[in-house]
């Protein structure tokens, strides 16, 4: 029977949302168990919920008419029973358990779109059966005992699922199509635009100094509306937030599988999984993280014998960590491997003609080069820098989320990639500026300072504009040249942009104040100017580009290139 004709087909999404965390939990426990048994450490706490959780998944899958999942869960229960009762079978059996629970999680995840085919599990089931019958043959007398495990001792899964429900038994969460939330957000954005228009009109009226009472009344109403919209914004954003553990949970198995394939020993540690981030960010985060973690296992981490020769533990550690800092989330991927090779990177960058200006680039500047296109694509790179393919791809996908990525490293000790991402990508606190009669929005989080400039504070060094800012010499870009406006004017203001490693000035004509703007993605088919991240509609209905400050601050938009577009 296909799931579509099934009496409970309407509950498929509910099935996935209940069973996926359970299946992922089981898969993680299987990996942890393999390690604990391997090291001979205490595993009871890891193992205890396994049986009950598998039983629940089996029951739920059976009710939903998903026989492939039901059978797989059932066979894993059997396998688990054997592993529990016979310590000698563990070495061979636990690898099967890891694979099977991983398969189980994958199938549950895929169920939302396609009912699993029997043959997806067939070859795995054959292997388990072969293992089980070999075990049975080896200990025939114990067979009956294994086949009727004492069900009363079953302890069922963590209280996590129960936590989602009110104690009155009412269901406290409902499922909403995320497209509806997007539509709601769109409408909210329009309300914000209308409000900004009203505020502008009121500002003009205030200058006339007539009808003061009515104006004061209007102002109070505006303030009220302002507060209401703020609250609405908060509530709306909250509906789009998901814990970042939904991304992290996939990595336990990835790391294990990669490490096995490479003959390395790697442990994954995860922290801050409860940090909540916008769904759009979550959706687009998985790929760059997979990239970084894969690179760490394959290129960053040494073989066990190499590590021991260096006096490091044979087992390497990769840490995924999330921390919230005001309206940003900082994600770090840390390994304790061999670290980056700054000289190798610099050599390669010079060969590509991409070396930074100045004779003595700082380590941070050199590491930033690792993200340049072309620098990390060739396989030589894995030898000279310890990094593999396409860090520029990681950087550009993070930038597309208005985030940035930096890397720090200590030779021989390890490498840390830090991803700074906005908690939400729908509404942006921004600084509006004017350049050559066009308005642009700059993400406020990337603005270090704004200042009025005098022509004599600007210098030309090697055909690049420079200025001294807080005792530091920083490069300065002319807004007109970068954004394709006219270049002759001298501009009044400088916005100092920051990325994690450096600062850079952007010269503009006017500062128009702080605004919350609703981010509208650009139509990808139209192409994207190098310095522009997205667009927004202002209170007066005009469109403004949101600038890609990460790119500007890192100096990747060369004025010449900007002129050519």
């Amino acid at each position: 029977m296909s799931a579509r004709e099934h009496p409970f087909a309407a509950l498929l999404a509910e099935y996935v949302s209940e069973c996926l965390p359970l299946a992922e939990d089981v898969a993680e426990r299987a990996v942890a168990l393999e390690r604990a048994w391997d090291e001979g450490t205490e595993a009871d706490d890891i193992a205890r919920p396994l049986k009950g959780t598998l039983h629940t998944i089996k029951g739920n899958s059976a009710m939903m008419g998903l026989p492939a999942l039901q059978t797989l869960a059932h066979r894993l229960e059997d396998l688990w029973g054997v592993l529990l009762s016979d310590a000698d079978s563990r070495d061979a059996g636990v690898a099967l358990l890891v694979r099977g629970t991983g398969l189980l999680a994958d199938l549950v995840r895929a169920t939302a779109s396609t009912p699993p085919a029997e043959d997806a599990t067939a070859s795995f089931l054959e292997e388990v059966d072969a293992f089980l019958s070999a075990e049975r043959g080896a200990r025939e007398p114990a067979r009956e005992e294994r086949r009727s495990p004492d069900r009363r001792t079953t302890e069922r899964r963590a209280a996590r699922a129960a936590g989602e429900l009110g104690s009155d038994g009412a269901i406290s969460t409902i499922r909403v199509d995320s497209r509806r939330l997007d539509a709601l957000l769109e409408t909210f954005g329009e309300a914000m635009i209308a409000q900004a228009g009203m505020r502008d009109a009121m500002r003009h009226l205030t200058h006339r100094r007539s009808a003061a009472d009515e104006l004061a009344q209007l102002e109070r109403a505006m303030l009220g509306l302002d507060r209401t919209l703020k609250r609405l914004e908060g509530a709306l954003m909250e509906t789009r937030m998901l814990p970042i553990s939904t991304v992290f949970s996939r990595f336990t198995r990835l790391v294990r599988d990669l490490a096995h394939g490479e003959g390395k020993r790697v442990r994954l540690e995860v922290a801050g999984g409860e940090t909540r981030v916008d769904k759009t960010v979550i959706d687009r985060l998985s790929e760059p993280l997979v990239h970084l973690v894969t690179n760490a296992v394959i290129h960053g981490i040494e073989r066990p014998e190499q590590r021991e020769a260096k006096g490091k533990p044979a087992e390497a550690v990769i840490t995924l960590r999330a921390v919230q800092r005001s309206d940003r989330v900082i994600l770090t991927v840390t390994d304790d491997g061999r670290g980056l090779d700054p000289e190798g990177i610099l050599r390669k960058a010079r060969a590509l003609g991409q070396a930074p200006a100045g004779d003595n680039p700082s380590l941070a500047e050199i590491y930033a080069l690792a993200f340049l296109p072309g620098l990390s694509t060739a396989d030589q790179v894995s030898q000279l820098s310890g990094r593999g393919v396409g860090l520029d791809v990681v950087a550009s996908s993070i930038r597309a989320l208005s985030g940035n990525v930096t890397v720090g490293s200590e030779p021989g000790r390890g490498t840390t990639f830090s991803l700074r991402l906005p908690l939400t990508v729908a509404v942006l606190r921004s600084l509006l500026v004017e350049v050559s009669h066009e308005r642009y929005a700059l993400p406020l989080a990337d603005v270090a300072e704004t200042l009025r400039v005098r022509p004599e504070t600007l210098h030309q060094v090697a055909r690049q504009g420079m200025m001294t800012w807080r005792g530091e010499v920083i490069p300065v870009l002319d807004g007109g040249r970068v954004l394709g406006g006219d270049t002759a004017e001298s501009r009044t203001y400088c916005v100092v942009l920051r990325s994690a490693a450096r600062h850079r000035g952007l010269l503009v004509d006017a500062l128009l104040g702080h605004h919350e703007v609703v981010v509208k993605a650009l139509d990808p088919s139209l192409g994207r100017p190098p310095a522009v991240a997205a667009a927004t509609i202002l209170g007066d209905g005009r469109v403004a580009c949101i600038l890609d400050t990460g790119r500007l601050a890192d100096g990747w938009v060369e004025p010449a290139a900007a002129l050519a577009t």
Binding site: P7, F8, A10, L11, E14, Y15, E18, C19, G52, H55, T56, K58, G59, N60, A62, M63, M64, G65, Q70, H74, S148, R151, R152, T154, E155, R156, R157, A159, A161, A162, E164, L165, S167, G169, A170, I171
Partner: protein, 134 residues
């Protein structure tokens, strides 16, 4: 079927929704479904609702499992007239015997079809009418 009050005790949210789906059918219109997510919550509702027509009790649950529920009910002689159906996945013959011994009125084995559940509800409904109008 005359409308009645029913209690579902199960730690799976999914199962509560399945019951809701079945109880949304025409033949059960007007009936009330009470929800509890572990044995202890379930027992509290059970005590507070002597008018219950039927209880669906999951066997494996945190805090208090189905068998513990039944043992406590027997020890306290609480509402012996209310039928309680134990719901399990692939139980063995010994499991079933233990459940019936502890006072279960019936057994429902996952996966069950809506019709099986409706049949039990029909039986319980006729039983309650016989009790009400001897």
């Amino acid at each position: 079927m005359t409308p009645g009050t029913y209690l579902v005790v199960d730690d799976s949210k999914l199962h509560h929704q399945m019951y809701q789906l079945i109880f949304g059918r025409e033949e059960l219109a007007g009936s009330t479904l009470l929800h509890a997510y572990n044995g202890r919550e379930g027992y509290e509702l059970f005590v507070a609702h002597p008018e219950l027509r039927l209880v669906f009790l999951d066997l494996n649950m945190p805090v208090m499992n189905g068998l513990e529920f039944l043992h406590r009910r027997r020890a306290e002689s609480m509402h012996p007239q209310i039928p309680v159906v134990l719901v399990t996945t692939e139980s063995t013959a010994e499991d079933e015997a233990r459940g019936l011994e502890a006072g279960a009125w019936g057994y429902l084995c996952k996966p069950f079809a809506p019709e099986q559940l409706l049949a039990l509800v029909g039986r319980a409904s006729r039983l309650s009418q016989r009790v009400a109008q001897p």
